[in-house]
Symmetry: C2
Subunit: 463 residues, 2 copies
């Protein structure tokens, strides 16, 4: 079918004005009188809807006049400029084919629905203004991230989802199995007989692709992952989901400075891409979801990010301990309230906090010369706190083994990882960006359930 | 660190010749004499390696001369044209910093290793020529697919991985659970107490995002998914993996013709993108992996795909039944041998086979007027057979329910899917492309284990 996207009408108006076009879309609202009427339709390609004028010269005038909100129609007619009206143009319909009417109990009537209610109809909510905007922007952010890395010749690596190892030794994991849960087989010594399982051993859903990603950085120099990760944490917050997407770039022959430069460039690139490609959606968020959003993003895109060490940050925060629920002292992990204080009040722009105590960071981070801190960085942004966490990796075989022993990690589980320090080790660094947190940040949406098409959280796995 | 990618030296030679550059990379081979030597290094950004000349004026001449294959070095020196040599230029090293040597037992010595052996060291194999080429091309194909759809304003949708429903009622699935397998809780009536499980019900890994994708096509008109899917099938073949990636576009206000136009355009776009962006890798595959590859791909990119109905195809095939292991008659599913006969011998180019018997296709495909066949299409390509399968979807509520009843599907499980036919139903169509099959097709690689970084198959879940 030769349909025009409504987006093309708006973006290339002059090409279409005065010409006959055919558009398919869904009815958002309708006004009618005895001899003519207006249909407002949206086809999902553009945030703004399109007005259609139809009259009783049409054979199916009565049918059209009875359409319910949500109905699907294919409209043909001349696109006509409407200089006096709010919208720039409308279609004067010569034909309105009804593809499918919408039943009277259609849940999305004109009134405004709460996000809570819309979560119960996740298959229909993308038809509303807010979720049209959210999920188009989500798509654009995903593409901007790919574009950023591909333009810089980073190789996209699909790290595995099902894994036989617990990457970071952290986080509760989902088990993956084909065993009959009602009759779990056991060996003679009474343990579960995983030989009967699909992979012949216990397997889980990954919590991070980083260690696998490092193996590819040691071959391709610059790589990134972009895929789903899973946490079986029983936390019912607005910021946690059991299934979410992560971006994890990794660079060989790179140190913590390079890592921060990459993170800063990426964030600015993505923000600029979305501001350029979804101006209508971003204006909507700014007006209805988060008043200061555009100003904040534009500020971030044009600021040099600040840098502060963890030790300096703690000194700053200790002076304000009376303002915090959790008091700060050297050695403690920073909470969101501290992160937001730093980025919003102290620096007024994004800030990298670097060189954290080794005790609160992962085993693979590079030990600094002070023997107390590691070459880690967290990027904090106004309104959110931490959005990116990264580090230079320990590239010295002996130091890495020493740290693993301190933490009681089983060396054999990490043979492949140690090989990278044995055969052509090179300084390298990378970071992780939680994709949904990035979408929340750029849209201003406050609940992770509202930026994932079909969110998975404790006791919630619908559709 | 200010390093130049080797790719940039080759692609923008004139910008660098005669200038000092710094390059990081890994030693592929070495030749040395008493007073000077050559290092051949690769940094993973380009298929061709770079030659480095070093002499005994360097302080660490002895250290360099003892480096093992696989060692990581950072080299600084002037890039010098070598018009008499095989390679276009080399670096005259003024400094060679050893980042990390490579232990003597480095598994990738200069001799050629079998793919079987390299599968046992999946963390090191991307350092070989073949797997450098495979995984760079894999990355480029992934990006080309995103670029194709984004340029056409398709919205990228992340459909869920963990699912409470068996999408197509087909395929063995992996269970996802946080229950203690050693002490699976039971309810009073003796059944498993899934209330104790993370999601409060049985959950699996998805086998397809299509039905979820359709809900978004009914909001955004044109969408695509690109994410992992899973099959717990106990099949140990060169074409099946338990974890693989799928692309599933879906278009509203589109029929089977539109679907085929999209599939053909996408395949041609992706092939052309790879030929343009990875000429060295493609030449390598053509020479060492699959002799006729380039000619075949160029032919596909420039042919109009053929079209034949299933009924016509069966008539053609029946005439050659003596050549087939499985004899063909109307109603049977086509095997790879039949598919390859059609695309390679009968048509000599890619061919769409359409309108299959409803009995051998999924419940959601649109019933044709003959009441016997459905508006399905498979795209067959030389060398592979089926690479894409798609259909127009049944958009009539009553017909869809009727078909579900015939097949004994539980209507309540599909309420959300039926809602799409109740509230503004529109003709729509889509297809599925197995990403790995596409990578195999474009690289000529014969085993799916060799186009997935860390493949998961029966009894195999390493790293």
């Amino acid at each position: 079918m030769e349909l025009v996207n409504i987006k093309d009408l708006f973006r290339n108006e002059s090409e279409y004005i005065g010409k006959e076009v055919t558009v398919g879309g869904w009815l958002r609202s309708k006004r009618d009188s005895k001899t003519f009427g207006f249909l407002v339709i949206n086809d999902g390609t553009f945030f703004e809807p399109l007005q259609v004028v139809y009259g009783d010269a049409l054979d199916n005038f009565a049918e059209i006049s009875k359409l319910n909100v949500g109905a699907a129609v294919i409209v043909t007619g001349v696109l006509t400029a409407t200089p006096q009206a709010k919208q720039p143009f409308e279609i004067q319909a010569s034909e309105v084919c009804v593809e499918g009417n919408s039943a009277p109990d259609y849940p999305l009537q004109k009134k405004r629905h709460s996000f809570e209610y819309l979560r119960t109809i996740s298959h229909l909510r993308p038809r509303t203004n807010t979720f049209q905007a959210v999920f188009r922007v989500r798509s654009l952010i995903a593409y901007a991230i790919h574009k950023f890395f591909q333009e810089r010749d980073f190789v996209y690596v699909h790290t595995p989802l099902i894994t036989g190892s617990d990457c970071e030794g952290a986080g509760e994991m989902f088990q993956v199995t084909t065993l009959d849960l009602d009759q779990v087989p056991h060996t003679e010594d009474g343990s579960i007989d995983f030989k009967e399982d699909f992979f012949g051993k216990p397997t889980n859903l990954t919590v991070s692709g980083q260690l696998n990603g490092e193996t590819y950085a040691m071959a391709f120099k610059n790589i990134y992952t972009f895929g789903p990760t899973f946490r079986a944490e029983n936390s019912n917050t607005t910021r946690h989901a059991a299934e979410f997407w992560m971006i994890e770039p990794e660079m060989a022959f790179a140190d913590l400075q390079d890592d921060m430069i990459l993170a800063e460039s990426m964030l600015k690139y993505v923000i600029n891409y979305v501001l350029e490609h979804a101006p209508e959606e971003m204006a909507f968020f700014n007006q209805f979801v988060d008043k200061g959003l555009l100003e904040r993003l534009q500020h971030v895109a044009s600021s040099d990010f600040a840098h502060v060490t963890y030790t300096q940050a703690v000194e700053i925060l200790e002076k304000h301990n009376e303002e915090f629920e959790y008091k700060v002292s050297w050695g403690c992990d920073l909470q969101t309230e501290h992160e937001r204080f730093l980025t919003e009040k102290e620096f007024g722009r994004p800030v990298f906090v670097t060189d954290y105590p080794k005790e609160i960071k992962a085993f693979y981070m590079k030990l600094n010369d002070d023997q107390k801190t590691v070459a880690a960085m967290d990027c904090l942004v106004p309104g959110i706190g931490e959005i990116i966490g990264g580090s230079q990796r320990e590239d010295d075989y002996d130091k890495l083994v020493g740290r693993m022993e301190e933490l009681g990690l089983n060396k054999e589980d990490y043979d492949f990882y140690l090989d990278l320090r044995k055969y052509g080790s090179a300084r390298h660094a990378g970071f992780g960006l939680g994709f949904e947190r990035c979408v929340m940040y750029i849209t201003g949406m406050g609940n992770i359930r509202d930026v994932i098409p079909f969110p998975r959280t404790v006791n919630n796995c619908e559709l």
